[in-house]
């Protein structure tokens, strides 16, 4: 009998418990999940400050969002008559409905924030430069997809918050010159946010965008290894003593597990302490004043307040365009792998200036804009 189970275990895990280095290397090569890592890593990669674990946390958060999202899909009905009531069902009758929705909501906000921080980390350390240009572009695409996933998910509760945030968001899309109206129509399937928009957002949120994201994530991870691992460790000085490379098991894997465990604990704690917001049923005749987009778009909404085209369309589009073409224009290779190298002071200052600018307008749009988008102090 014991041999029977042994055979099953051996068929799945080709290598037993990696008790020595040889077995650890074998395990890293033969396991599907582990082979995404190099069997041996540079010690500089293991420093927390090398990445702050941001990319990995993004991936973990995505995984948790898929899991909680599937559970929510069991109970959710993407129709204006039933969507908001589904939220009530989750709150009142579905087992673990509240905590699952909270995990999904806070996980989504955390993922948006951490993906953007990840982008900033890679930029500051010059991770977009050759040979990582294509992976950088894929990463920018992942950031955009993350925002798209969050935005499409925002509509699904079909409460006032969702309805008006998406109405504002689709107005921004429609303000794009030439193609704006067509794009908004394609997104909403109607002139206004309604039944068609809800179904489209649902399909995008649950099928199209996750499939795209999963595919690009696979490419992204593959290219991380093929492009030589972390830029921060690649350019770090060789250790003067000890081995040049350390086995990924246990040094890397344990660190990753700790991050995963920490993230799960924090997310769960947040989900038990704070409930995801839910406002009254969407009512197209009742416009909140002001109607605000999701927080990560409030910087853009704030800019659009000054000029619909320049602030709402040109600046965001130019920012994304600049991020995409950046690696093909900035080809100097000095100062890579460090956060604040003298060679990259100018490049990093420009980036930090824009990041700070976006943060300021986001904070203003979130906290200091009252009815009719008038400036106000918070709390009022």
């Amino acid at each position: 009998m014991r041999a029977f189970f042994q055979r099953i275990r051996d068929s799945v895990f080709r290598v037993g418990w990696p008790a020595d280095e040889r077995k650890a290397l074998l395990a890293m090569r033969s396991s599907f999940l582990l082979h995404l890592h190099a069997p041996k890593v540079r010690p500089a990669s293991l420093r927390l400050a090398a990445t702050w674990g941001l990319g990995l946390l993004s991936l973990f958060l995505y995984g948790s969002l898929v899991l909680t999202g599937v559970y929510l899909m069991f109970y959710y009905i993407p129709h204006p008559d039933a969507a908001w009531r589904s939220m009530g069902d989750l709150e009142f009758v579905v087992p673990y409905g509240v905590v699952t929705r909270n995990l999904h909501r806070w996980g989504a906000h955390a993922m948006v924030a951490i993906v953007l921080l990840h982008l900033g980390r890679v930029y500051l350390t010059g991770g977009y430069k050759a040979p990582r240009e294509a992976n950088w572009v894929a990463g920018v695409g992942l950031a955009v997809l993350t925002l798209g996933l969050s935005f499409t998910g925002y509509l699904l509760p079909w409460d006032q918050l969702a309805f008006w945030a998406v109405t504002v968001g689709s107005k921004m899309v429609a303000s794009v010159p030439v193609i704006g109206d067509a794009a908004a129509l394609l997104l909403l399937g109607d002139q206004t946010v309604g039944e068609a928009a809800l179904l489209r957002f649902y399909v995008l949120h649950c099928v199209v965008l996750p499939v795209a994201l999963t595919g690009i994530v696979a490419f992204h991870l593959y290219r991380v290894r093929k492009d030589g691992g972390l830029v921060t460790s690649e350019h770090a000085p060789e250790p003067t003593e000890g081995p040049r490379l350390w086995p990924a098991w246990p040094h890397l894997i344990y660190r990753e597990l700790a991050l995963l465990a920490g993230m799960v604990a924090l997310l769960l704690a947040a989900s038990m302490l704070f409930n995801a917001p839910l406002e009254p049923l969407a009512d197209p005749t009742r416009t909140p004043n002001p109607a605000k987009a999701p927080w990560y778009f409030l910087g853009i909404q704030e800019l659009a307040h000054y000029s619909a085209f320049w602030g709402g369309v040109f600046i965001p589009a130019a920012a994304i365009g600049a991020l995409i073409v950046l690696p093909y224009l900035d080809r100097r290779t000095a100062g890579l792998g460090r956060y604040w190298p003298p060679e990259r002071r100018w490049a990093n200052s420009v980036f930090l200036f824009f990041a700070a600018f976006f943060m300021v307008v986001t904070v203003v749009g979130t906290f200091f804009r009252g009815p009719a988008w008038a400036l106000m102090w918070w709390p009022p």
């Binding site: 010690p43 673990y96 081995p243 350390w246 465990a261 604990a265």
Partner: protein, 613 residues
């Protein structure tokens, strides 16, 4: 493992702390969820889109009153009448407001308003405030400015054509500035109008031509003393307040002498409906002499007008310009909503209120620092103080003030208005008001209109409520000869009623026609014809034994709480008396006879005895 590079301490600390914390939290989540009741009583009313879980805690069998007998919980659920969040499974979420559920359980006022969403009739037993509110909405002329479904504007405002024949410009100015100073019972609300708006309106009103006045009587000198007597014998005080007494339904006549021109008054009294086709006043048959006497009596009360009359100072050109402005102001203030004037259409000028019940108080302006009221209370405040919720800097509300509206009536109005929802309620839930009866046609119908019978009497659920008993079934209750005499000379039957039928001077031929119409068309099928007679002696004994005299007066004994029975032998149809005594007062709506039912034989005996009175 690799001794040269041990794992850093934080890996273990973070990993195990998080792991234990996660496990602990998962147990808390599991424990919390286990506290949820596994079974829930749930009431699904698909037709209303209602999912009510109230019965998880409340037992419908404990519902007080017999409301559920008419409103089966299977068909209505709970939240339709009680509000709250039916789908909730915790007491707080079900009863209280929250960010996702703005309306807590209904207050008593909101519950009554909820009745009105399905029940469209003007009066609804069990919802007195709702019914009162709907009556006030009609009486106060709210429907003149606001479109309110189910409520028709009664003829409460006079036609303004020919106003120049009726009153002086000074009087109209004073009236527009403060109607309460001229008539404490004024029904027209108080508009906030500066003089520069009043003058053009007066100019406009005095440009409207009306029907020509009837030429004054030539015969004899009018005698005010005779006029005063006529006013009493004609019972004008049934509707008008005269010398401080009576009235309530029509304008106070105490000051009529100083308000109305004698020529106009004379025309109104002698040819009422030619001068005022839409008035609620019956067409009295007065001789010119009688009318002249009454006018003389009114003129005796004339109070000299001390207000200066700037009217004469206006040159014709100024007046012409003012008229155009006045027409605009007249429309702007919504006056054509209630008054007919010239060719102006009667269109509601203010916002329609047919969906007011759907408004949420959180969206409405509130006085600073005031607690959040329920919707009926908010409306009540707005009705009592129309400018209460004006936003600073905004144009003040044009709505006039309804002074003298009691807080109870204001709340009743709030309840009636909060019941209005343009809702897709399934048709079989809506209890429509009784379809309007067509008024009687033909020559009898013309007389019913001339004497304005239905202003006081109810018929087929329509008409007024001034007279105590509806006309339905009257043809089966009384005898022809008595009715013929009564119409010409209405004696008072019910001494406890303050409203007494005016003496309109119905001619014999008119009375004959009306009597025929009442006897043939207004029979009550529930009153059985041809009851056998009983024994009058036994009837007299039963009358005494039943203590009928504690309400009725007969042969000089008894009280006057009920109708006097002396002479009832000629008045009442014995079949009706038998039916009333045997089957109870339900055969006559509004009848206040004791509900006790007598055995058939006893009823026949008493009826036979009464027939001999």
């Amino acid at each position: 493992m690799n001794d040269e590079a041990p794992l850093p301490r934080w890996t273990h600390v973070v990993f195990f702390t998080s792991l234990f914390a996660t496990i602990a939290m998962v147990f808390v989540v599991l424990y919390r969820d286990a506290q949820r009741p596994v079974e829930l009583e749930q009431r699904l009313v698909a037709a209303l889109g209602v999912v009510d879980r109230c019965e998880a805690c409340h037992d419908a069998a404990d519902h007080p009153g017999d409301t559920l007998g008419l409103h089966a919980v299977e068909r209505f659920g709970c939240t339709v009448c009680h509000g709250g969040q039916g789908a909730a499974t915790t007491a707080d979420a079900a009863h209280l407001a929250s960010p996702s559920w703005e309306r807590p359980l209904f207050t008593a006022a909101e519950r009554e308003a909820a009745c009105g969403t399905c029940h469209e009739a003007a009066t609804l037993a069990g919802a007195p405030a709702l019914s009162r509110g709907r009556a006030v909405l009609a009486e106060r002329g709210c429907v003149g400015c606001h479109e309110i479904p189910g409520i028709k504007l009664p003829e409460i405002a006079p036609d303004l054509d020919g106003l120049q024949d009726k009153v002086s410009p000074a009087w109209v100015r004073a009236w527009l500035a403060d109607p309460g100073a001229l008539n404490v019972d004024h029904r027209m609300p108080q508009f906030t109008m500066p003089d520069e708006e009043i003058d053009p309106i007066v100019a406009f009103l005095f440009s409207l031509e009306g029907p020509a006045l009837t030429p004054a009587a030539e015969a004899g000198a009018p005698d005010p003393a005779r006029g005063r007597k006529f006013v009493a014998t004609r019972r004008c005080a049934t509707c008008h307040r005269i010398e401080g007494r009576g009235g309530g339904f029509a304008p106070d006549l105490s000051l009529a002498g100083s308000k109305l021109s004698p020529a106009w008054m004379f025309s109104l009294l002698t040819d009422t409906h030619r001068l005022r086709p839409h008035t609620r006043m019956p067409g009295f048959r007065l001789s010119p002499e009688e009318a002249a006497d009454i006018v003389a009596y009114a003129a005796e009360q004339w109070v000299p007008d001390t207000a200066e009359t700037p009217w004469t100072a206006f040159s014709p050109e100024v007046k012409r310009d003012l008229t155009a402005v006045g027409r605009f102001e007249f429309i702007e203030h919504g006056c054509p909503g209630c008054h007919r004037a010239g060719d102006l259409p009667r269109a509601p000028a203010a916002m329609p209120l047919d969906d007011l019940g759907r408004r949420r108080v959180v969206d409405l302006p509130l006085a600073d620092g005031a607690a959040m009221p329920d919707l009926p209370s908010w409306i009540a405040t707005k009705v009592r103080v129309p400018t209460a919720f004006d936003l600073p800097g905004a144009t003040p509300s044009l709505m006039p003030a309804y002074r003298g509206l009691s807080p109870d009536d204001a709340l009743a109005v709030g309840i009636a208005l909060a019941s209005l929802k343009r809702s897709p309620l399934p048709g079989d839930y809506v209890i429509q008001s009784t379809p309007a009866q067509t008024p009687p046609a033909g020559p009898a119908g013309a007389l019913v209109d001339r004497y304005r019978c239905l202003e006081c009497h109810e018929l087929g659920g329509q008409g007024g409520h001034i007279a105590g008993v509806p006309l339905d079934g009257e043809g089966s209750r009384v005898q022809r000869g008595w009715l013929l005499r009564f119409l010409q000379d209405p004696v008072t039957i019910r001494m406890d009623q303050s409203a007494r039928m005016p003496v309109m001077g119905i001619s014999e031929s008119d009375a004959d026609l009306l009597t025929d119409w009442i006897l043939s068309s207004l029979a009550d099928p529930r009153i059985t014809e041809g009851e056998a007679l009983g024994d009058a002696t036994r009837g007299a004994a039963a009358y005494t034994a039943r203590a009928c005299g504690s309400c009725h007066m007969s042969r000089g004994a008894g009280t006057m709480k009920g109708p006097v029975l002396d002479g009832a032998g000629a008045r009442l149809d014995p079949d009706y008396v038998v039916t009333l005594l045997r089957d109870g007062p339900a055969v006559v709506p509004g009848e206040r006879h004791p509900a006790e039912r007598l055995p058939g034989g006893e009823a026949r005996d008493i009826a036979t005895w009464i027939a001999g009175l």
